[in-house]
Amino acid sequence: MTVTETDRPAEIGSEPGSETGTLTVEVWRGKDDGRFQSFTVPHRANQTVLDIVTWIQRHAEPALAYRFACRVGVCGSCAMTVNGKPRWTCRTHVGKVAEDGHLRIEPLRNLPRLKDLAVDMTPFFEKWQAAEGRFHPTKTRHDPLSTISPSSAKRKAADAGIECINCGVCHAACDVVAWNDDYLGPAALNRAWTLVNDERDGGKRTGLDAVSRSGGCHSCHSHGSCVEHCPVGLNPTRGIAGLKRMSLVGLLTGDAG
């Protein structure tokens, strides 16, 4: 270490960040019977939509309700509807979504609203469970770990769908979720698909039954809005198609039904 100064350090990080005009931001306030409230927010080069919402809470409307945690796109807490599309806001650069300097921010669709921009995600996770979205062990901690080739087709299929951050964006984008209360939705079915491809899982039969009930995989009409909007690039459509195929095979071979 060569530095020995003990003076009060120079002011660090005081650069204000380049400001490039303002944005007009309409934000949903209240619950179902709410209204839009309009704010003028300084526009800076590196802002994300979450930064805009945070600015409003810190500088204009202290009681504004919204949710976030990780700030980097791994927790899936911060999803909102931005100019009509569901998005993760912490990773959505304003420049990508603002239309003529205008943003309209609403809570996520297809989930009960709590207040302002926060929704209740309970139904989302209940459906995750209803799709048997959990591992069914066949071994215990005292058994050796399973040997699984990383290049097997099943492992690859499971890998392709596993990095879901359960943000609910696909759930909000899917119109079948809106039309059919029973529909489990793309995220839950996507999880079920990773499980039927998990060679270690002991719940394949229950899993396949769970997604074959009314509101299961057969309710999906391949709109593809889930794939279109999933922020981490997962493809629930593909997994759901796989489940449909598997259920059919099950029916034809008399395995299920």
């Binding site: 039309w179 039954d209 009930r213 009314s214 057969h218 449909k244 059919l248 029916l251 039904g257």
Partner: protein
């Protein structure tokens, strides 16, 4: 599981319909030239076992395929749910099959 069965029936009927519809479309495009006459149609179909089979299968597949499709549409866009829809759709299937069967008989047998 009813949903799997309906799904299977719908997709299988669609697979049957696909080539038939392609043939049907080609036929339409060739036949409509300068307008349709009954004689043209009936000349082709009367007494033909092949066309009887073609249209017979077509009708059967459509009578299975369309009601299952409509069931989804009704359940998703109306507040009509449950057994009523199912019964209505079975009714529709039977109706389609009977009307279609009569049409096939008409053009094949006369």
């Amino acid at each position: 599981m009813i949903e799997v069965r309906l799904y299977a029936a719908q997709r299988l009927s669609a697979m049957v319909l696909a080539p038939l519809v392609i043939a049907h479309l080609i036929l339409i495009l060739l036949a409509v030239e300068g307008g349709l006459t009954a004689a043209e149609i009936l000349d082709r179909t009367r007494g033909s076992v092949g066309w009887a089979l073609f249209y017979g299968v077509f009708v059967l597949a459509a009578a299975i395929h369309a009601p299952i499709g409509l069931r989804n549409v009704i359940r998703e866009h109306t507040s009509w749910r449950g057994e009523v829809v199912d019964k209505a759709m079975i009714g529709l299937g039977i109706l389609l099959f009977m009307l279609g069967g009569r049409a096939v008989l008409a053009v094949v047998v006369g």
